[in-house]
């Protein structure tokens, strides 16, 4: 069998698994004994019966696009699955610099998502049992608990820095750049203190901007991320461009990991989805970043700008469409605020990916990205 036939076969298997998973999740979310009040109410507005008419992933096109506005405001209980309502529940928020934030209730999803992600991390650069630093948005965001769980799942302890992105956005909007700089320095100082306090931290999460500032701050103190013991970093955000990655690898992290530098892996995700991993990024491929969702729990598609139910061809540009299919949360097709190019499956992730992720061109000017 050729390599291409191999890939076709595993891609078919992955697709079958996705169809089966879709069926099971739709049964769960729309059954009176398990579903959440929101979707059970929505069911009555649909002109089809999800329980009988959704048999595979393609049938999800029968649903209207998910509107994230539905997540704004209360009662938050409408999102709790009936059969999980007695379990300890978290609420994670997104947005909210002004007005009511969007919220998602979670029991175990964040843990599962990050356990799945953990399996993609190379132990060589994210040694099991080592401690972590979480340098990113905290408070009502999912990320802090998720990274902490990741560290614990891998046998370590996570040190966290408190960072309020809503305040950062306000500072930018008010033009208080001096305060912005002071707040950034306040966060970076804490990170440097933790990293140099003998806690044996070998792994970390940082947003690109904070990673940049942290590396410069360490350099100012005559050291570097590698010298303080960090071996692997995972990071995320739409400003994660090939050029930024190259800059980070060449100038912040001491070169490619294969040549002794700190390993870095980009990720793409948000509160609605889990965490999409990147195909290994290499200089040979001009630091091209291609993300693959944790299928079947989440699916990313690249769809035509004018028709969200039509995939674009491989290599073509379209809007990123997200579908979330976990036992706790159902999002049947949500148009992200991003666009990118459709990427082909490959052996590690035998399903579609997306590369060149950037703010959707029609919304780009009104979106504040990469603020922290």
């Amino acid at each position: 069998m050729t390599q291409s036939n191999d890939l076709d076969a595993v891609a078919r298997q992955a697709r079958d698994r996705l169809d089966q998973h879709t069926y099971e999740m739709v049964q769960r979310h729309f059954h009176e004994s398990t579903g959440c009040p929101f979707w059970l109410q929505k069911k009555s507005e649909l002109d089809f019966d999800p329980l009988t008419e959704v048999k595979g992933f393609d049938d999800l096109k029968k649903f209207p696009l998910f509107e994230d506005e539905w997540l704004r405001g209360g009662p938050v209980e409408r999102w709790r699955m009936k059969d999980m309502s007695d379990q300890p529940t978290y609420v994670f928020e997104t947005g909210g610099t002004t007005g009511i934030p969007k919220s998602r209730v979670v029991v175990d999803d964040f843990r599962t998502d990050y356990e799945v992600f953990s399996d993609t991390l190379p132990d060589e650069y994210f040694p099991r049992g080592s401690n972590w630093l979480m340098l990113g948005p905290s408070g009502p965001r999912r990320l802090r608990l998720a990274v902490e769980h990741l560290a614990q799942y891998r046998g370590g302890i996570c040190f966290c820095i408190d960072l309020d992105p809503r305040w950062v956005v306000k500072l930018i909007k008010k033009g208080w750049m001096e305060h912005l700089e002071a707040y950034k320095n306040h966060c970076i100082d804490q990170a440097v203190t933790v990293l140099t306090a003998g806690h044996d931290i070998k792994c970390m999460f940082a947003t690109p901007k904070l990673l940049d500032s942290l590396c410069l701050a360490l350099e100012d103190r005559g050291t570097s991320l590698a010298e303080v013991g960090v071996k692997g970093v995972f990071s995320g955000g739409t400003e994660f461009t090939p050029q930024w990655t190259r800059y980070a690898v060449e100038e912040l992290l001491g070169g490619p990991a294969s040549e002794g530098g700190v390993y870095m892996t980009p990720t793409y995700g948000n509160t609605l989805m889990g965490l999409a991993c990147s195909k290994p990024v290499t200089a040979e491929e001009d630091y091209k970043i291609s993300y693959y969702a944790p299928q079947p729990r989440a699916v990313t598609e690249v769809v035509a700008f004018e028709d969200p139910n039509t995939l674009v061809g491989y290599g073509e540009t379209g809007r990123v469409k997200l579908t979330t299919l976990t036992p706790e949360f159902f999002v049947p097709g949500f148009l992200e605020r991003d666009e990118g190019e459709r990427e082909a499956p490959f052996d590690l992730y035998p399903w579609d990916g997306v590369s060149g992720v950037r703010p959707f061109h029609e919304l780009a000017s009104s979106t504040t990205v990469g603020v922290y």
Binding site: M177, E181, T241, P242, Y247, A248, G370
Partner: protein, 478 residues
Amino acid sequence: MIDIPVVRWGKPYESLEKSDVSHFETGEPIARVSQANGGLLARDMRKADRARQLLKEFSIEDLIHRAALAADQFENETLPLGNGTQSADEFVMHQSASTGLPEAMCRANMKKNSFVLRNMTEILDCLTRGLPLDLLSRGYGMESRGVVVSYQAQTSVLGAVLPSNSPGVHTLWLPVIPLQFGLVLKPGSSEPWTAYRVAAAFEKVGIPPEAIGLYPGGHDVGSSLLSSCRRSMIFGSEKTVNQYSGDPQVQVHGPGFSKIFLGEDCVDRWEEFIDPMVESVYINGGRSCINCSGIYAPRHTREIAQAIAEKLGPIEPLPTADPEAGLAAFTTPGVGAAVWNMVEQDLQSEGVTDCTAEYGPRLVDCERYSYLRPVVAHAESPDCEIASKEFMFPFVTVVKCPQADMIKKAGPTLVGSAITEDQQWIDQLTDATNIDRLNIGPIATNRLNWLQPHEGNLIDFLFRSRAYQVTDESMLQW
């Protein structure tokens, strides 16, 4: 196509991200410009001190001499640009094609830049108020009147976030290299030409390329430049001005709201002054901060507005290569229409008359670009909204306003030309802190004397005058 790299202290750096600079009419790319990222610039700024160290190996007099040689290179020679070269004529064509400015204006701006480079001795003499230049280099010294003075450099480099649509502003940062400071420039996205050509001209005459950094890129590069340079300039909108107005490290250049004031004693002779008024509004396509956007007079305002409209109203866009072309294109689709909507709204307000209405539609909208033909408005009172507006095309409001109210009502004014011989009023104008450059007499607002500081003295910005005491013995060794 020309491939233009980021320049990191003289070293070209090809980015993985590139942005095309395109011809505004055809959309054809002219150059592909590597895009820096903010962190890259911040990181390079750690080596900023070396730029000044290298330049201090030359005397200021030597650098002034080289600047004059660079003027010839800039104005006449074929110079390296990215992976190719660019002749002086190509520079004019490229700049016109990407900014929408007529070629004649590009050439005039080019001459303005080379004039400043060539006349650096006089300009620095003026900016320093006659200080011996070695005093700036050393940081202290003795003035001719026998007093010890010290001017301490506040930075090693000057950063500048340059505009895309006003190639005339570059004269402001040109004296920096002769003053032994490095330069860190973020060129405008559609006007990389001047910054790269000046850098090439400087290199050609032996100025160390390591003294200059060129960082084209997005907003993050601009923010990074402003936060990592201890002294920088930015050119932008009123919003930009407000954002940085309280920051002592940033010199901000925005809309000028330049004005002409006709005094009670001269206004009845208004016809004599129409030519400088028209020139003030129309020159350079109305794009400069020194273009006049308001003419204040106590009477005859309707006649003045009609007379200016008669001259400017019929003007139409011409091909950029036409030596008579006087209007510059808006090169971003939709911008001309958006600006016209704002102007139209103001023109419909109570007390406002559109004096150019009879000369046909003002908006000339094409697929990729647009033009706005000159607009002359008349306002019955300085309280009309339109009286405080400035746009990037030949636009002026003739405002009826009693002389006694003019200074107060005029608001911020970069260049104020007061046509009056009334000494009492001249004294009041001289004291008015809302007027930056003051001209007394019928001087067009655009006629700048280069021997006068513009919007803050560069020397005051780069140096701090401070106390410096030494013993008599050590003074003898100087």
